[in-house]
């Protein structure tokens, strides 16, 4: 059987990060990931992924700028003919570093934004960062890179969407991704505090529609729905091990950035060739195609539209990654999603729940960071 190669490599260079967002999708336990791949190991991974067909190189983390060799890695990607994309908090993007990255051939930058004003933004990020993000955006524009701004939306910032869009416009973004939180990693732990109400979503969608009309020549606006409110699941990763290859800081290869949570055998680039991992490893072949599917997916006419949804979500909600994604209204486990949605829309629900921020991984002590305050309706 011939397996099509991936289009993109998501290289999670390090999980070290100056931010401590309560919706972080990185693994809960980070000790396992401290033994990071060396520069030479990453260069070999890039080369092997390119040979397999990967054309886009997403340099992410954690904060990829915390890697001292990030400029060298960008240059390697460029030499291989890949389109490189730096996914950053913006912290650490000095003018000097930016010039080096430009000279190395960096193509595109994505900066995350947490909220539209400094106090709320710094609370959500768990560290003073708002002004530095704006400075980083100015640097990106000065360098002539296209700028994408990423905003993770949730119950505690959705009502600020108007202000967020205005801020993103002021930053000069060419493109904004408004992504409602997906519940993995740290976000799973904070799900109750993060899941918005239907009314919040409807209000936000109206604002997004109006902004799309107003800005249609200047800024592309992507709106990624929270799948808990959908009838059908998302076509996760365009199908398991179909389009994207993820490599974590310690060299674990994954079909999706949340797949570290699944009870499947690991595949590490230090032990195996990238081609073998992609084409033959149990982890990558387990849910590829449609043969693995249970009912109702197996006989569903949408089985090649949404591929049964998200394996990681099925696992988190039901304990079995081979179940139909419970987001689907046809799933026998759909009641689990309905219960969470019901709770999020309960008129009796008390004020906003406090978010548990991600502890600083370098401090090593859980709960060392003071919890961000979360005033209702702030």
């Amino acid at each position: 059987m011939t397996v099509d190669g991936p289009f993109a490599l998501l290289a999670e260079l390090t999980y070290d990060c100056p931010l401590h967002c309560a919706y972080c999708s990185n693994p809960i336990e980070l000790a396992h990931y401290r033994d990071e791949l060396s520069t030479g190991e990453w260069q070999r991974v890039f080369t092997e992924a390119r040979d397999l067909g990967a054309l886009q190189l997403h340099l992410s983390g954690g904060e990829p700028l915390r890697r001292r060799d990030v400029v060298e890695l960008v240059r390697t990607g460029r030499d291989l003919g890949m389109y490189s994309n730096l996914v950053t908090s913006g912290l650490g993007l000095s003018a000097a570093r930016a010039e080096q990255l430009r000279d190395a051939g960096l193509d595109h930058v994505q900066i995350s934004v947490q909220a539209d004003e400094p106090v709320r933004s710094d609370e959500l990020a768990g560290t003073p960062s708002f002004e530095r993000k704006l400075a980083a955006a100015r640097t990106v524009k000065e360098m002539g890179w296209p700028l994408t701004v990423n905003v993770v939306l949730h119950r505690q910032n959705l009502d600020r969407i108007h202000g967020i869009l205005r801020l993103v416009e002021e930053m000069g973004a060419d493109r904004v991704e408004l992504a409602n939180t997906q519940y993995y990693g740290w976000a799973w732990r904070n799900r109750e505090a993060l899941l918005p109400s239907r009314a919040q979503l409807e209000r936000a969608e109206a604002v997004v529609r109006a902004a799309r009309e107003r800005l249609r020549d200047r800024m592309q606006i992507l709106w990624i729905l929270p799948d808990y409110y959908e009838r059908y699941p998302k076509p996760c990763m365009g199908g398991w091990a179909s389009r994207q290859l993820v490599v974590t800081p310690n060299g674990d290869a994954l079909p999706c950035l949340a797949a570290h949570e699944l009870p499947l055998p690991r595949a590490n680039v230090r032990e195996h060739a990238v081609r073998w991992i992609w084409e033959s490893s149990p982890l990558f072949t387990r849910f590829r195609g449609t043969d693995w599917m249970p009912e109702p997916c197996r006989s569903c006419e949408r089985r090649e539209v949404d591929f049964g949804g998200c394996r990681c979500q099925a696992f988190l909600l039901t304990g079995d990654p081979a179940h139909t994604d419970p987001v689907c209204h046809l799933s026998p486990d759909h009641g689990l999603v309905e219960a969470a949605v019901r709770a999020a829309n309960d008129p009796e629900r008390p004020g906003e729940l406090a978010l548990t921020p991600r502890p600083d991984p370098r401090s090593g002590a859980r709960g060392a960071v003071a919890p961000a305050s979360a005033e209702p309706g702030a």
Binding site: G5, F7, A8, R50, D51, L52, G53, L55, Q56, G81, Y83, N85, D107, H108, Q110, W145, P146, T148, D174, R175, R216, D217, Q220
Partner: protein
Amino acid sequence: MPSTVPTRIDAGDRPRLARGVRLTFDRARQRHVLLSPETVVVLNATGTAIVELCDGERTVADIVADLGSRYSKVVDADVREFLAGLVGRRCVEVERDDR
């Protein structure tokens, strides 16, 4: 004014690759591809020939004429439809004289 979302492609439009978009050859697939922040567009030979002429100078009519001198059957409507698709995916933008 450059526009990324025209309703249709006119003969007088001058298409060019949008900022941040690169045309490159993919050895793994043996095809030319357009690379942009979040998209890979795999091109066939005709598509590649069209994109290579999108320099912001030539009009769509120029491109059709140029292709017509090299290929036997070049359908104007097909070229326009192809370019409209790339504009929709934000890989190409067109310069249009306001009249």
